[in-house]
């Protein structure tokens, strides 16, 4: 039997119907049309579905849609200001840190979660913070450099580029 859920997604009041075993990722992608969060594994291993649930970094594939009742979800679609890029996105571009791009939404959300909490992480901290985000293409190094560079830019107050 479908469950009626009222929640907030990227700051907007949202409601939807879902089955008891539908994941938040299923709801985002298939019901709400927010396909930025990717499904790489559906088992918590790859991080491509990373989102912030009430400010906490989680895998959307391991959250039930029904659990979102009364919660606040931030997805990759809500990370950048309208028409702009988040510094992590900007630096990933500048460092050519993307190839196929499947992992990138999750990396951006996970890196944002890290930098919101720790504006000046060292390389080891960044590597541990992104250990739950698998990338089959880049070899990670450029991603790590880009995140460190984004941290530096954010500390200098570059903030978000419109």
């Amino acid at each position: 039997m479908a469950i009626h859920v009222q929640t907030r997604v990227n700051g907007q009041a949202t409601e939807f119907l879902c089955e008891a075993d539908a994941s938040a990722l299923d709801v985002l992608r298939d019901t709400l049309g927010l396909t930025g969060s990717k499904e790489g594994c559906n088992s918590g291993d790859c991080g491509a579905c990373s989102v912030l649930l009430d400010g906490t970094l989680v895998c959307a594939c391991l959250v039930l849609g029904a659990e979102l009742e009364g919660r606040e979800l931030l997805t990759i679609e809500g990370v950048a200001p309208p028409g702009g890029l988040h510094p992590v996105q900007q630096k990933l571009l500048e460092h050519n840190a993307m190839q196929c791009g499947i992992c990138i939404p999750g990396i951006v959300v996970a890196a944002k979660a890290l930098l919101d909490r720790d504006p000046d992480p060292d390389e080891t901290t960044v590597r541990f913070a992104l250990a739950g985000n698998l990338c089959r293409c880049t070899g990670y190094d450029k991603i790590i450099r880009a995140v460190l560079d984004a941290a530096a830019a954010m500390r200098e107050g570059a903030g978000v580029r419109a």
Binding site: M1, I3, E19, A20, D21, S23, N42, S43, G44, D45, G47, S50, L53, T56, L57, V58, C59, C61, L62, V63, L64, A66, E67, E69, A110, A113, L114, F128, A129, A131, G132, N133
Partner: protein, 289 residues
């Protein structure tokens, strides 16, 4: 069939009644084991009873003689709690090793315990620290020692309608500390080949007056050994005493061979890690002075 319902009870009695009455009801903590198992077909829940909206299931409380951790509290919260970091650094180490940051945002200690994997990282640290589980059920509340929860891989002593509400851990005495280490083939995101925890207490002269060790992934359930503990108690934690403790614990292991390691390798690594956690805990004591 499939999952027919999702329920989010707001009270313990409501949860007990749903867990007792719904067909195939499974308690849901962070879902990091249960949802994966449901999708692979390893478990076939008829309904999810989400415990996270029950007051007291989330959060960490410091009481005069113990820490009370809501059973659904995420490991990430445990791992970053300043009070726990200073009093139970070994438990914090174990909680901080579970999965990725994403998994830590959800994975709970209650789920780590009740999933009953022999390799669960928090369990040796909880057992070494004499954690007690507060269990709610149709007959009311009961308390069980953490090491008495599991019967074997995937099996616990919990009856129908029962669930773990909270984990109570005695606050360490003066000159008491703990440590946890695990071996995995890489640095993150893998299941322990062996996990080892130790909690030690010494007197003013540095003599060990209480010790408790616990090993994960070397037996069907977490391994404790009063004989190994006794080899440390009364000693100055000198190399000979540690070696005796390690030899007894290694002899008590009954590991399996799998693709992560042979039984022989596990037994060897158990010895290495156990020695290291004893040293790590005693170094923490030395720092305390």
């Amino acid at each position: 069939m499939g999952v027919q319902a999702y329920r989010a009870p707001r009270s313990i009695p409501e949860a007990v009644s749903l867990l007792s009455s719904e067909a195939g009801a499974f308690a849901l903590g962070g879902g990091t084991d249960l949802l994966v198992q449901q999708r692979s077909g390893a478990r076939q829940p008829g309904s999810f009873i989400d415990l996270k909206r029950i007051p007291g299931m989330l959060g960490i409380e410091q009481l005069p003689s113990l820490w009370r951790i809501g059973a659904a509290t995420a490991c990430g919260e445990v791992a970053s709690h300043p009070g726990l970091r200073s009093e139970l650094p070994g438990l914090v180490e174990a909680a901080g090793l579970i999965g990725s940051k994403q998994v830590q945002g959800r994975a709970s200690l209650g789920g780590n315990l009740c999933n009953a994997s022999p390799a669960a990282d928090s369990v040796p640290a909880l057992v070494a620290n004499r954690a007690v589980l507060v269990v709610a059920g149709p007959e009311g509340e009961r308390r069980i020692a953490a090491e008495c929860l599991t019967l074997g891989p995937g099996r616990t002593v919990l009856g129908r309608g029962e669930f773990v509400c909270a984990i109570e851990i005695p606050r360490p005495a003066a000159r008491q500390s703990d440590a946890y280490l695990r071996f995995i083939p890489r640095t993150e995101m893998d299941i322990a080949v062996v996990g080892a925890a130790a909690s030690l207490r010494v007197d003013e002269g540095g003599r060990c007056i209480a010790a408790r060790i616990a090993l994960g992934a070397v037996a069907p359930t977490v391994l404790t050994s009063p004989e190994a503990d006794a080899a440390l108690t009364g000693s100055m934690l000198e190399p000979e005493a540690i070696a005796a403790c390690v030899a007894i614990a290694q002899a008590a292991c009954s590991p399996i061979s799998d693709r992560r390691g042979t039984a022989e390798f596990r037994r060897h690594v158990a010895g290495v890690l156990l020695r290291r956690v004893i040293l790590a805990a005693s170094q923490r004591l030395a720092k305390e002075g």
